[in-house]
């Protein structure tokens, strides 16, 4: 074998050895078990913290609200859709002092007009026209800018929807 080839071969073998060593050290353990990915990643994702509790959890404590809801159209709505994620609230409220209830556990009480407008504002996209031209919609709609747009003189605030419509059973 020519001298040049011998020398190059040595250099190449050294390089290959380093490469194989790197492979041995750097490829994660669980890589390739289920496919071309690190199988442990599935467990990593499964361990993310939960934030929403689900309405069933709310109903365990708030029986009065469950009763109110049963009278109206909002009976099947998810509580957290308006009140925000409630897992921590559900888990720790029992231990909390009702007199000194910590702010960090309090949930939203969205009583502003904008909250109701999200679903109930007049919007053509919410109207589904059936074959016989009967307009149907999933929700009752009003023009939020006009419906009972009473403004209080003193504060210049607009009256909120909840003054007339009971939010849990409208």
């Amino acid at each position: 074998m020519p001298d040049q080839i011998k020398r190059l071969l040595v250099a190449f073998v050294i390089f290959l050895a380093i490469f194989l060593l790197a492979r041995f050290l750097l490829i994660p353990e669980s890589f390739g078990e289920l496919g071309h990915y690190r199988a442990e990643a599935i467990d990593d994702v499964s361990a993310y913290p939960l934030k929403h509790a689900g309405s069933e959890a709310c109903k365990e404590c708030h029986n009065d609200v469950v009763e109110e809801l049963s009278y109206g159209f909002h009976a099947d709505l998810a509580c957290e859709g308006c009140h925000g994620p409630a897992l921590r609230h559900a888990m720790y409220s029992e231990m909390a002092d009702p007199e000194n209830y910590p702010d960090s556990l309090k949930l939203l009480r969205p009583v502003e007009r904008e909250t109701c407008a999200r679903c109930h504002d007049l919007n053509a996209s919410r109207v589904k026209i059936t074959g016989d031209s009967t307009d149907i919609s999933m929700v009752h709609m009003v023009n939020v800018n006009e419906h009972n747009h009473f403004v209080f003189d003193e504060t210049n605030e607009i009256i909120r929807c909840v003054e007339c419509h009971f939010s849990h059973s409208p």
């Binding site: 040049q4 190059l8 390089f15 490469f19 890589f31």
Partner: protein, 401 residues
């Protein structure tokens, strides 16, 4: 971070029509434009060099070693724009450790390594081995140390060894030509295989990338040869320049024909994406496509070189024009990459609107960074020319029986 969001809010104000909410930010920036540009220069410079070695185009001899060293200088830097663009650059080694066999981008590590080690480095080693051994006898200090390391201890100057060097170089160049095609063709495939993006998804994409790479590489060697000759205060060989220009002309015709075919086909079929792409090309890409890439970068050089086939002006004027043409071509091919990469992200995949590309001068992905990665290879080339000067190579010995 605030600054980053501020820029995105500004982009939001420039959105036209409707884009998917995640499409506001252009993720593949000017650095991703630079990478195909640089590998294209490498592939093109190497192919020009191979013309002399394998196809015996003797008149190109003055540029042979220069082309090889230019290719090496650019290849050493080629990976840097990519790595500096990654969200997690320190994890870049993962591409070499667990390359996904279904991903075109994963091949990068191996093609790059193969080309760098087996083709370029070996080729240059066999070509310069004898000279390094001879230079070793008179060199001092750092240079001497480098020669000692680079020769890998080899001291054999027998005619048999020299003949072997020559043969090995020849074979490597032959292997190198398809390797150069692969080095740049796969970049075209990275874009051409994305079915989600109709501006990219095309069978012609790897071929177009390859031919524009050859064009840019040839123009680069032409320009570098003229500049280096000027610095060394010698006249560049006009015959070599004429031949390079001739090859540039032929490949430029092929490149133009392929690009034209791609567009004509797109316009004729006018399928779903045509409307938004039509707006893209005539709107946001008008300047960079029609003026920079097509007119300045392709038509002007093409017309000039076509005229030269029939009427050649005097040497002095020819040299100046060759220099201008090579700069124009380099400029135009950069914008070809720009139009592909940036253009492909400017329109929404909903085909309902456009976003905007806002970049700054400073910043990890700013224009300054792009200029930096483009200019560093020239510094490396200067170093290589100091270490392995083609004009100081020893005369070839007569072949001894």
């Amino acid at each position: 971070m605030e600054h980053h969001f501020q820029r995105l809010y500004e982009v939001l104000t420039q959105v036209q029509g409707y884009i998917y909410p995640n499409e506001v930010e252009l993720y593949w920036s000017v650095l991703i434009v630079l990478y195909p540009y640089i590998t294209g220069l490498v592939a093109g410079a190497f192919i020009l060099a191979s013309l002399e070695r394998v196809f015996n185009v003797k008149v190109l001899k003055p540029t042979y070693h220069l082309a090889l060293l230019t290719a090496l200088a650019f290849l050493l830097i080629a990976v840097m724009p990519l790595v500096s663009h990654l969200g997690k650059p320190l994890r870049a080694f993962e591409i070499m450790m667990t390359p996904n066999p279904t991903s075109a981008m994963a091949i990068f590590g191996f093609i790059y390594l193969w080309y760098l080690m087996v083709v370029l480095l070996l080729e240059i080693w066999f070509d310069y081995r004898r000279d390094m051994i001879l230079w070793l006898q008179t060199a001092k200090g750092f240079k001497r140390f480098l020669y000692q390391v680079l020769t890998l201890g080899s001291r054999d100057l027998s005619p048999k060894a020299l003949r072997f060097d020559d043969k090995a170089g020849y074979i490597i160049t032959i292997i190198g030509i398809p390797s150069a095609f692969l080095l740049h063709g796969y970049v075209g495939f990275i874009f051409g295989s994305i079915k989600a993006n109709p501006w990219w998804s095309s069978v012609l994409m790897p071929v177009i990338f390859l031919f524009s790479a050859m064009v840019s590489g040839i123009a680069l060697v032409m320009m570098v040869y003229m500049v280096v000759s000027k610095i060394r205060k010698i006249t560049s060989d006009i015959n070599a320049l004429d031949t390079i220009a001739k090859f540039l002309f032929y490949i430029l015709i092929m490149d133009f024909a392929l690009e034209a075919l791609d567009q004509v086909h797109r316009i004729y079929e006018a399928e779903e994406s045509f409307d938004i792409l039509h707006l893209l090309v005539n709107g946001k890409l008008f300047m960079s496509m029609f003026i920079f890439q097509i007119f300045l970068g392709t038509l002007v050089p093409l017309a000039t070189l076509a005229v030269f086939q029939f009427y050649k002006p005097v040497e002095k004027i020819r040299r100046t024009i060759y220099f201008i043409i090579s700069v124009l071509v380099l400029f135009g091919i950069f914008f070809m990459r720009w139009n592909v990469v940036i253009g492909g992200q400017l329109f929404s995949k909903s085909f309902y609107g456009f976003t905007a590309y806002k970049n700054q001068f400073i910043g990890a992905e700013g224009y300054l960074m792009a200029w930096f990665w483009f200019l560093v290879p020239f510094a490396i080339l200067a170093f290589l020319l100091w270490l392995l000067p083609p004009w100081k190579k020893h005369e070839e010995l007569e072949a001894q029986e």
